[in-house]
């Protein structure tokens, strides 16, 4: 995790542009399930916002709401100051959605040609093909493409209209590392052209590599929001597992431990300062055995974030 080579960003850079898309206290239910609970956040012109969360967190519902594809139970949605269902506003939006099946007998260039015709000022076909890395595949039928290539066609359909605002719902789902990196490169190019991007992902690494701002969402609520560096500070750290006579309460009291719990025969803890904590553990329990140190997964990150939700000294803007 977190093996990124992105430049270090200055922290806490306030979003510069005006708001182009916003959800205000949006609640959405699917039957008895609450998909979104008073979700409140905005996307500003020219920035890349990553909506980070595990599967089922409500990321796709946020995107669908912003596209006017689902109407919330309560709250307000505005995109470019209006209703996303208006044709004039749709003209300025491109969307990449997760779709189970795309008509398979049309060729790559034909799909792009059709979607380009919906927009007033589309990119030239060759440019769209090149940007999505599809030039060599343009005469292939959609059904003959690999999973990664299919994703690239959906990406091409999102950008072909040269929109100002892009919604990318898990743009790299199912891609291998190399294909993922090439999508990242394309997203960065879009940003350089001044486009605004909202993307969803469940990879912390991806959010870190691309986003100016990360909104962490879990079980329908925004649990944290901040720059990549701020979120990383909360979610980095290590998971330490060991068999010890110390109780979870004792360990939790140690400085630098963010969570600790007994898991079967061993104790599981999360810390931002593993060296200091391990030294202390060994000093207190010479019998300690089965020591394992692993990178904190997203699960730990969420645990850490929710724990810090109520903490006083949180530097993040927490919306609950």
């Amino acid at each position: 995790m977190m093996a990124t080579q992105t430049e270090v960003r200055t922290t806490a850079k306030p979003p510069a542009g005006a708001i182009v898309a916003r959800l205000a206290k949006v609640t959405k239910n699917y039957g008895p399930i609450t998909a979104l609970r008073e979700v409140d956040f905005a996307v500003h012109a020219g920035e890349v916002v990553a909506l980070l969360g595990p599967n089922g967190a409500g990321k796709t519902t946020v995107v669908r709401s912003l596209l006017g594809l689902c109407r919330p139970a309560s709250g307000n949605i505005s995109v470019f100051g209006g209703d996303p269902n208006q044709a004039a506003i749709r003209m300025r939006i491109g969307a990449m959605l997760q779709v189970a099946r795309v008509p398979e007998t049309l060729k790559v260039w034909e799909h792009i040609d059709l979607f380009s015709s919906y927009y007033l000022h589309p990119l030239p076909l060759a440019e769209t093909l090149a940007a999505a890395g599809l030039t060599a595949l343009k005469n292939r039928k959609f059904g003959d493409l690999s999973g990664g290539q299919k994703q690239r066609v959906l990406f091409a359909l999102a950008i072909c209209g040269n929109p100002d605002l892009l919604f990318l719902d898990e743009p790299t789902a199912g891609l291998d590392v190399e294909a993922r990196r090439s999508v990242w490169t394309e997203i960065r190019k879009l940003v350089q052209q001044g486009k605004t991007v909202l993307l969803t992902t469940h990879y912390l690494e991806e959010a870190d590599a691309l986003a100016d701002r990360i909104v962490v969402i879990n079980r329908g609520s925004v649990i944290a929001e901040g720059t990549s560096a701020e979120i990383k500070a909360r979610t980095s750290g290590k998971r330490v597992r060991c068999v010890t006579q110390l109780t979870a309460e004792e360990v939790l009291a140690l400085p630098g431990v963010t969570s600790a719990k007994q898991d079967r025969e061993a104790l599981d803890l999360h810390t931002l300062r593993p060296e200091a904590v391990i030294r202390e553990l060994l000093a207190r329990d010479p019998q300690l055995s089965g020591l394992e140190v692993t990178s904190a997964g997203l699960e730990d990150a969420f645990l850490a974030l929710t724990r810090e939700d109520n903490a006083q000294n949180s530097t993040m803007e927490v919306i609950r």
Partner: protein, 270 residues
Amino acid sequence: MSTTLATMPTLSRGRSLRQTINVYGKEAKYEFLKLLRFPMYSVSTILFPLMFYVLFGLVFGRQQIGGMSQSTYLIASYGTFGVMGASLFGTAAGLAAERGLGWMQVKRASPMPPFAYFCAKFAISMAFSAIVVLLLVLLAVSFGGVTLSAVEAVKLLATLIAGSIPFCAMGLVIGYFAGPNSAPATINLIYLPMSFLSGLWIPYMFLPKLMQKFALVLPPYHLSQLALSVVGGGRHEANWGHWQVLIAFTLICLGFAYWGFLRDEGKIYG
């Protein structure tokens, strides 16, 4: 955090007339290519009626039905059968799959005019209907000893193409109320019995009396009577009566389809 809303740059006016025609044209063109390259649709909707016609219209073509040769009579009834198949499968199967498997959402998230989508489905079903009828007429004239004047051929074609509209409308209803995978089976469950009961396979007068009465409420019966009247057969009822039934049926179907559309918006929007 700034809370001012982006001032909208002067919004581009809508599409020009040329751009609008372009969108509708491309939507229809790609709908046509999509179906043409899908053999399950293109081959079966074209070949089945032709095959039936060869078997019953040409092989047994010299028999007489209601004062005309069987090969002439069956152009009208298999023409109706072919039009029904092309229209029902052309609209319902695609719509159900695209609704159920997410493609419709991608289209709706784009600035596509929704009307263009439905127009394309109707236009392409009508185009496939025209292909089926043309090939039937060609077979009949070349091998069935059927004589049709040019005017009769054009009238037959026009009647049957116009007659595809009620079945496109019915296809929309099936497309909105059937699941993505069950739609083809649902279509067959309606299409095949309805064809039989309307006298498309076995001529109307050979059906039992009770079924003859029932046929009067079935739209394919009325379309086949209109087609028969062009080639000089049928029961010589007033054509306007048949058209009225077809128009009423179309309106009822469009009503249900619109309900399905709204319900879908409710599901998607609600």
